[in-house]
Subunit: 435 residues, 2 copies
């Protein structure tokens, strides 16, 4: 049994901070050639519409479509996918979708207002976006679970139309993805991808309707295009590689912990799996489990590279220090594999999702627990949240001044506006002052 | 009395859509020279810290500071500003701050959870960001009201530290801005600005702490720098020119309406003021008011250019069509100067803030009604919201599976994970299945 070399850190070491920085260092690729290619594609789709979209799609996905109409998938075809997948798969998708829907309904924001003594009403009116674009990668990275996780919150929010784009390189269709689109009640599916699909969603073409927001993962061309159209439309965060941080008290089955680490590491070579534990003996046991189980994985090579290049075992003096380390990292996935996870929860300041207790495998959250699997990566949990219904709603402030309220507030506004040399602001408010 | 030429549109005209597109067309300046300058400044502040920040500050703001310490404003100096402004101004700031605080407390999001039949607990834990940067422009565009509007929601959210940067070109200090910072309880004030200040907040220097989010308005260098650091930190939207759309039933004093239009137009030449009304005679009356009142404005030249180049009067057949036009534009400020604004409200789909009734001047909302004056511009109200407490909070998903829940969900996760060829995900879930 060959040993898998995983970095060993000690949180009490004097240079721990420096070692941690080195461990976490990750730079997104920022390539001028990619940026230039994307800029050209965006400009052409913006000015030429369907013509450019069809040309790029035929070129990059090696298709021979003669019109965009061929790339619009009829609803009947999505329904058909439901009978092409196995009954077991269909049921699993339906259970997952129902749980995701039910959980996300708790996130729906409602309009609110209050009335002041003088009759002035203040509040916010919450409304859904009209149209949202959902990018789904094609080929091997095409995940039906992502269709559910991105589409369901928009549907729960009340978005009028969810437009899904998914490339079909060489014409290859993923029936599970189509089936998930049917179950999530996606309104429109168009088999285009890459920067050209992002451009079409952002600017609109004859066939692809212009949307208000684009969500969903994609390769570097898709990410670059999303960043470029940010402002014209809203976008979700640009995701980095997936990560998990497991805090364990040393009393979970070490095989379980090893497999939980693998479930991130198998995503891709850049994925990051970190185990934090106050028990050095347990770390050694997990190392044994890793060494024994890793060769049994279908995706062994990817997981091995991820673990040896980006993985780490961090020894801490107690669970309180473990949470300090976790807050410093702000992990996408935080697993609290301990006896009393509720006791640690109030100390957790930054994490995308928190998996509590020995039974809550992160993989359950990826698919069917209910919460979203689109989570902030690379420490961005410091300032961002799981994808949710709130991402597809927006607010309008409501201000309804009574005559009395307008008179009193007008006096205050007048002083402040004149202090900022904005005279028309002041006079507009002063018109509403009585006497 | 010279006539101010304002575009006249008719919403029932066959080419109205095209005319409206032309009216709204506005492109943010995208200048390669600016982008290159900003990239250089960001890189130098990132690698050299205070040294580069001090050098650029001395250069761009024409200062002679010998260390960054000189540019950190002691809290006592902020308190001193409260006694340097007039008593009337101080009271107006305090009234405004208190109203803004009270309104924003309604926006605070709370953690939530629910328990399923098998004991599984699902929810979200809501926490505040740790540290936020607030950019305040220097010189003439330095608005104390912006300090309140940006800092108060962060404070209400429970952010640990609000770091404000404000340049002092030629050493010029705005006492009202310092006073507003004192009232809003801003934690740290540093007199730096431009792209170098954005870089310092995003990356941290010896003196400037690294923040999680940067908010606040700025010039093209600041906006370009914010866009560049988006992802490293969160940012608010990049604002375009300010706009107002007034829907009037023709029964408000036309002088009031003219002044409301001026209150946007006086901001800058790019600001946009639009009046929508079903009464052609009333539009003519407002035109008369504009012609008569415009010459009496301190900022006449700016307002005149704004109104003639970007303003418009749009004749509609009824108020329902007025709201259709408004939704098409998705204005930053929507004034419903009508008899029964509540009747129109449910039809309003996209607007930053809605000012209801004849007495609610937009200027009151700018300063002291309570709602935020940082609002989505240029049609981005289709997908974004007023700045709020929610912009300084973030969420962590909570998943706590009971052994029974983990067993049932593990079966579903296993099927879906294997369908995506993610075997370690499946096996991690399967460990938790009780047979």
């Amino acid at each position: 049994m060959s040993k898998t070399p995983i970095k060993q850190l000690n949180a009490s070491a004097t240079d721990f901070e420096r070692q941690l920085d080195a461990l976490l260092a990750w730079e997104s690729v920022s390539d001028h050639a990619v940026a230039d290619t994307v800029a050209k594609i965006l400009a052409e789709v913006k000015s030429q519409g369907d013509e450019a979209l069809l040309r790029y799609t035929n070129q990059f996905d090696r298709l021979g479509a003669s019109s965009m109409a061929e790339l619009v998938i009829p609803k009947a075809r999505l329904q058909e996918a439901l009978s092409r997948i196995s009954e077991e798969q269909r049921q699993a998708l339906e259970v997952a979708a129902e749980r995701v829907r039910r959980y996300h309904e708790h996130q729906k924001q409602e309009s609110w207002s209050f009335t002041e003594a003088d009759g002035t009403v203040l509040g916010q009116q919450v409304t859904a976006m009209e149209r949202v674009g959902l990018y789904v990668p094609g080929g091997k990275a095409s995940y039906p679970s992502s269709v559910l996780m991105n589409a369901m919150p928009a549907k729960v929010a009340g978005v009028d139309e969810v437009v899904m784009v998914v490339p079909t390189p060489d014409g290859e269709v993923n029936e599970m993805v189509f089936a998930a689109a049917a179950i999530a009640d996606v309104d429109t599916v168009i088999t285009v991808g890459g920067a050209q699909a992002v451009a079409a969603l952002a600017y609109g073409t004859e066939t692809v309707p212009k949307v208000d927001k684009i969500v969903g993962p994609g390769n570097i061309f898709v990410a670059t295009a999303k960043r470029a159209v940010f402002g014209t439309v809203a976008i979700d965060m640009i995701a980095g590689p997936s990560e998990i941080l497991v805090v364990c008290d040393g009393k979970t089955n070490p095989d379980w912990i090893a497999m939980d680490l693998f479930s991130q590491a198998e995503h891709d070579e850049q994925a990051q799996s970190i185990l934090v534990c106050p028990d050095a003996d347990f770390l050694a046991q997990v190392q044994d489990s890793v060494d024994r189980l890793l060769p049994t994985l279908a995706r062994e090579a990817i997981a091995r590279q991820s673990l040896t290049e980006r993985g780490a075992f961090i020894l801490v003096k107690d669970l309180a220090q473990a949470i300090e380390v976790s807050n410093r990292i702000a992990p996408e996935h935080l697993e609290l594999s301990v006896e009393d996870p509720e006791a640690l929860l109030p100390q957790v300041r930054h994490a995308g999702a928190i998996f509590m207790g020995r039974h809550t495998a992160e993989a359950i959250g990826d698919y069917c627990a209910g919460p979203n699997h689109v989570l902030p990566t690379s420490g961005t949990a410091r300032f961002s949240s799981p994808l949710g219904v709130y991402d597809f709603q927006k607010r309008s402030s409501i201000i309804n001044c009574s005559p009395q309220g307008a008179s009193e507030l007008g006096k205050v506004a007048s002083v402040l506006a004149r202090g900022e040399s904005l005279e028309a602001h002041a006079r507009s408010a002063e018109y509403r002052i009585k006497d």
